[in-house]
Structure formats: structure tokens, C-alpha cells
Symmetry: C2
Subunit: 227 residues, 2 copies
Amino acid sequence: MERVLASAFVAGYVKDDITPEELERQQALYAPFTQAVRELVDATIRTEVDDDEIRAVQAEVEALAARLRASQLDGAYGVRFGPTGRGRPWGNTVVGLRNPVAPPLVVEKRPTGECWSDFHLGAAYEGPPGLVHGGVSALILDQMLGEAAGAGGKPGMTGTLTLRYRRGTPLGDLRVEAWIDRSEGIKTWAKGQIRDAEGVTVEAEGVFILPRWARPENPEDRPRYFE
Amino acid sequence: MERVLASAFVAGYVKDDITPEELERQQALYAPFTQAVRELVDATIRTEVDDDEIRAVQAEVEALAARLRASQLDGAYGVRFGPTGRGRPWGNTVVGLRNPVAPPLVVEKRPTGECWSDFHLGAAYEGPPGLVHGGVSALILDQMLGEAAGAGGKPGMTGTLTLRYRRGTPLGDLRVEAWIDRSEGIKTWAKGQIRDAEGVTVEAEGVFILPRWARPENPEDRPRYFE
């Protein structure tokens, strides 16, 4: 327990050392639960049921939130990690298994840094009518460029990020790809793009910087990955 | 009705011409309903109730989504607008009154393009532990720079967007500001920043381009604002 608290102090990463069986149990419990809330979010935007039904559903949603809050974390989820050093960022806005705001992206990666994900964006991610919000494309590319840096052994926090929008990205089935362009000391340059069936819609380039607490000279417990 | 359909064809903007009273009625109905779902999203991430309770709540959430889906839009919400030309982007990921993913930001603006918003980000917007996801900052700044361009009479779709992360942005109470830097023909350059109590954490600069269908030579119905 003291060890967990000490680690938690390192920028909020919590070493909980759960077993593979416990990890599997948590995934099996929380993935479908969070997905059910994602469906509710989508239905909330698109529903056309009458006013009385909206009010009735609202009362039930409030009661469910109260039940969940009967016991809850004081703040955000943070990132937990175990003996392998692989982080579990389950509250993350893009990939979080427990975050209904996350589509979530499931990211495939190679040790050289190439990453990709096939994903779907529905009504909750709209900007211009029928199109993905330009900022949602930025959100996803920020995550993926960071994933590329991490997968290539150069994890970091975003320093700069530049996006070029070639055309509107339609809501629906999409793909995102990212890779490391080059790396110097604590800095890694990564690039990426979002594609629909017709080709590239948005391009991104960013610099990722290894935080001070995660540099090799720091002896404290820390995740080796923090995707 | 034909008029609405014709307008809907113009890039998905729907001219519905609702009265001010109907607008007020819809706001009073949907704002608290959507807020209840936002609370459920937060509770979903942070809950520590036991497995049986998670499964029980999941079943109820699924039933509520089914009730809402008894009558729903075919796709995303889109943007509706009325006689004033002011758009209602209620499905928008950042400002959408009906979107539980949106914090939502309530944006103050001046006709010269200055925009600002005081807002709060909780557990759903986490990247590194306890910090706002870098991509969420990008999402919010993309919206706000677009709002500045629109408020200054130069609405547009994002062409490029560049973000500089000066330090981590803590979850909690934040402020975002945006303004027009300059404008030439169909292009507008906007800038903005996110601040916490200690100062600026992220800076952004972007180019916004007036879409072809919204240019003055196009005679069809369209919103004059599409924030």
C-alpha cells in the first residue's frame, strides 16, 4: 500500500500489480458496461421521443448515476500499471476502456513505432453536419502520434502538434495511422493521418517530449509505456 | 417542408424556423436531460461499486437507450437554424446542448471576433494522470478559433491548426480565449489559448476557410453563423 501511494505520487501513475486473471476479469466487466453508456450517449443526441418520456428517462439516469457514485474514486481514473510496465489508461478520452467518451480506439502497434486503428465515429463526434469535428480528428491524431512515439520506445507528452485538413472527414468507419519520423534525445517527431474509404482527410505532425520524471536518471517506479 | 429538404441538401444545414418560444422549450427540456447523462458518464469512469451492481446498472442503461431509440433521427443531429441565421449545433462535440460528450462550452463573443469561455473538465477528458488530454485541448481550441472566425463574420472550416503545449493543463476549472489575427478573402487566421489559474498552458493558431456552398455567390438558404 505504501508502495502504491509512493508511486501514485510520481505524476499520478499507480502501480497496482494486478494479476493477468484480475485484468481479464476487469476487462470483461467494464468493457460492456462502458459500451452500454456509449449507446446511451448516442441515443441521447438522436432521440425524438416525447417530452414526458425524456423527463422519465432523465429521472432514471439520475438514479443510476447516484447508485454508481455510492462508491467512487475521488478524482479522475489516472493510469494504473503492473509488473510488465504496460499502462492501463482506462480513463483516457481516446482509448479508455472505462471512458464512454472514448470511441474507444483499439490501437495496433509495432515495436518500430508504426500504429494503426480502424474505428467508427457516430453522432457524438460531429462538427459540421455529417462530418467529424475537426477538433476530434486532432484529438485522435494527438493520441495516435503519442502512441507511435511510445511504441517506438520514445514515450512523451505532446510539445507541438500541427494538423492539415485536406477535406471534411465523414462520420462513419475510419482508419488512423501514425509513425515515428525521427528522434533526438528526449524529443521524438511523429506523423500520422486519418483516412476514409476515399483516402487521406487529415494529416498531422507532432513533437513528443519525454517528461522529466520518466527519464532514465529517475529511479522511481514508473510505467515503461504510457499510451 | 420542401424548403427544409432543399436546405438540408446544402451541406446538411436544416432551416427549421422554430419560434423563440419553441427554442426555449427545447432548451429547458434537453439541457438538464443531457447534463444527467454527462453525470452518468463521469460516474461510469469513477465508480467503485461491486460487480453485481455494475451489471445491474448496465442492464438498466441498456433499457433506457432502447426507450430513447424507440423514435430517433436516422443519423447525427446536424445543425438547425432559423430566421435569425444563428445555427443550433446541438450535436457538436464541444458546444452541443444535446451532446453528453460536450462539456459543454458556453461561448461569449464580440462582433470583432473575440471569444471566451470559462469551463470545467472532469474525469472524461483525462490524458496523462490528472491532466487534460492534449487532444482535448486541441479539440476545444479548434472549436474556439472557429467561433472567433464566425463571430467576426468570417466563418470557415479548419484548414490548418497548430498547437503549442507550454505545460500540462490540470483537470478542473479552465478558461479559453480566441480572436481573429487577420483575414484575406475566404481565409481567416485565428489564435487562441487555454489558461488555468497560473496562466497559459496551450496556444493555438489556425486558418479557417469559407466553404464553397457558403460563399456569397451561392443563393441557397444557409446559416449566417455556424459556430
